[in-house]
């Protein structure tokens, strides 16, 4: 089960990126904006802006392998969630609101950047990509980066 602290981290003022790969093992990455974590089912739904989502969607449907890295940009604390695709669908209006709320959190947190820079991102339409989390790795820069997180002890 994804611990409460990690749920709060993913729902916080973080920046996140989803990675996939195609049948030739060529990787693709896209910025995602906003996420919902279901700790009970160990699933994360991220919202991938459609403007850059095509390779991610195609790869996810082809082989289902997902990597999500979530970064807190001031402390550099970061984690990578790896797992398998559960589903892809267009984001709902409610999820669009989640994206807007997330953008507001990031703007309030990263005050060294002008608000307009974040407002310039095309967040929607977007795709809700849900995956089941199988492993979580520490990604905070340093020698411990890449270490598998023991969720029961976290």
């Amino acid at each position: 089960m994804i611990p409460e602290r990690l749920v709060a981290f993913v729902h916080g003022p973080v920046v996140s990126f989803v990675g996939t790969r195609d049948a030739r093992l060529r990787p693709s990455v896209s910025w995602v904006f906003g996420a919902r974590v279901s700790a009970a089912t160990d699933e994360i739904t991220v919202f991938v802006p459609d403007i850059e989502a095509e390779p991610i969607k195609r790869n996810a449907e082809q082989n289902g392998l997902i990597a999500l890295t979530v970064v807190e940009s001031i402390s550099h604390e970061s984690y990578q969630f790896k797992g398998k695709l559960v589903g892809l669908r267009p984001s709902s209006d409610e999820e669009r609101a989640v994206q807007d709320i997330h953008r507001s959190k990031v703007i309030s947190h990263l005050t060294k950047f002008p608000k307009a820079l974040f407002e310039g991102f095309r967040l929607y339409p977007s795709t809700a990509l849900t995956f089941s989390v199988e492993h979580v790795f520490v990604q905070t820069p340093g020698p411990g980066a890449g270490k598998l997180l023991d969720l029961s002890a976290f």
């Binding site: 990126f17 060529r26 990787p27 850059e52 392998l65 970064v71 950047f113 790795f137 990604q139 020698p143």
Partner: protein, 132 residues
Amino acid sequence: MLPDEIRPAMQGVTPSTIVTCSLDGVPNVTDISQVWYVDKDHVALSHQFFNKTHRNVRENPYVQAILRDAKTFQEWYLELQYDHSEETGPLFDQMDMELEAIASLTGMSGVFKLRAADVYRVLSVRKSRSRQ
């Protein structure tokens, strides 16, 4: 291949993001402090730790990177192929010096340590469509 207008996104002011893939097909996404300009067809990434990214590119040389300009947030997508590593020489020395500067600016002094300059061939470059 690399246009001059990409250079502001290669100054290390905001991190870049890269994805690699292991030979058994598992993608891996990580932030890196900087992508260095080598010449029009090559960039360099810092090899600091013997981590998953390091292992993946030696198994499977293909990488995709997102670079961003700190002033405009314009993003760029690069497809790269690992070419070789340099553990001494002018490129290594320049990256080592700049990495230390980034480390001190971001509170990561003592954490960042350059082991090698990993040089990649640029396979493609394009502007992200993420900005309005």
